[in-house]
Symmetry: C2
């Protein structure tokens, strides 16, 4: 996704075949997608409109992203946006002070912030409809987010090591459950998502709905 | 949903002045909606097309359902479809044999079956997009499903009474969490939703992800 070519962008043609890509062109295109999602929504967004807004040609866009869904996915789910994990402090002291429920709360909060951006909220139903029509698309696009899932697994592993999570916990099922809750709350008009929502979800999934064994 | 039901949503104009509605007309219209959802999907479905397929006039449809979303919601989420609860056997013997995790599993299974119908799977992304544009719509439509939510609360209350669920459990949060998981798994291409999925979800939310207190 990087290139050192300082060549002009925004002048209409973009780099030709075999020439390194200009990251500023990528940024201009992704910015244009986010603007248009906020202004028009997913259904009315077109590659042509994105190219015009970004000041590039349609082929310049298609060379980078084969479909509108690929383009929108990258614009609204930046894969580098993995800020839910605690700072990389693995000292025993720091680890001892960590709490699994806090970790889960932080993950849910970060995901809520991400999904509540206007361009993301605008894109999600349209992307879901595209997934419906092209089942392979979701799998392909979600590989972009494998790093997020991997970071979540690390978080679970660390909690197991601290004795705070079940050793037999299915981290992927928990990840999907939390992702589902965040997606659902974003899609709903959701009076429920106020302060404390992430905490409530974290407590529910960590403590469980069943009667505590210690009772 | 009986013949004397005055209207699907309670918010429409209801039957024409002085003329009782024929439930067979309702059924024909709702059947036509489900057929067209399977054949064409949500976006291409029109009130005009539904009327034609059902052999009625457009005003006949509009008299009953003010928008396409109202019509589709009733066609794919039948409010009487609340089969997740155990038989109404409140004898002490029967109650003693009930298990909260089983109850949750049954709820998730029933919801999965409902969401995996082709017409429902076809309608959901379109409905979500409409909710996005008209936030009041989701609230209005979901009142149709209040009976399902109420039945779920009863299920939780019964589990609390049996000592199997936390007394402080937020039944609505659990309901929303499970609904989210089902919706999400239906929207995804979801290699995960095989046999045992409902059981895994039920165990996760009942036992919790945290280390058992008895450990």
């Amino acid at each position: 996704m990087t290139a050192s070519n300082p060549g002009p962008s925004g002048t209409g043609t973009g780099p030709g075949p075999g020439r390194p890509r200009d990251p500023r062109t990528d940024d201009a295109i992704l910015d244009a997608v986010r603007e248009l999602l906020r202004e028009q929504g997913y259904n009315r967004l077109s590659i042509e409109g994105v190219a015009r807004r970004a000041g590039v040609s349609r082929p310049t866009v298609y060379r980078r992203w084969p479909t509108k869904a690929h383009l929108v996915h990258e614009a609204v789910y930046p894969a580098q946006d993995v800020h839910f994990t605690a700072p990389d402090d693995d000292s025993a002291e720091s680890a001892a002070g960590r709490d699994f429920t806090d970790d889960i709360e932080r993950f849910v909060e970060a995901a809520l912030v991400s999904f509540q951006r206007p361009e993301t909220a605008s894109a999600v139903p349209g992307l879901l409809a595209d997934y419906r029509d092209q089942p392979e698309l979701r799998e392909a696009l979600n590989t972009r987010l494998d790093a997020v899932r991997a970071a979540f697994r690390d978080l679970v592993d660390a909690a197991v090591a601290r004795g705070q999570a079940r050793a037999d916990l299915d981290a992927d099922l928990l990840y999907d459950t939390l992702s589902a809750v965040v997606l659902y709350s974003t899609l709903s008009s959701s009076r429920r998502v106020g302060p404390g929502f992430a905490r409530s979800v974290a407590e529910l999934v960590v403590q469980g709905a069943g009667r505590p064994a210690a009772d």
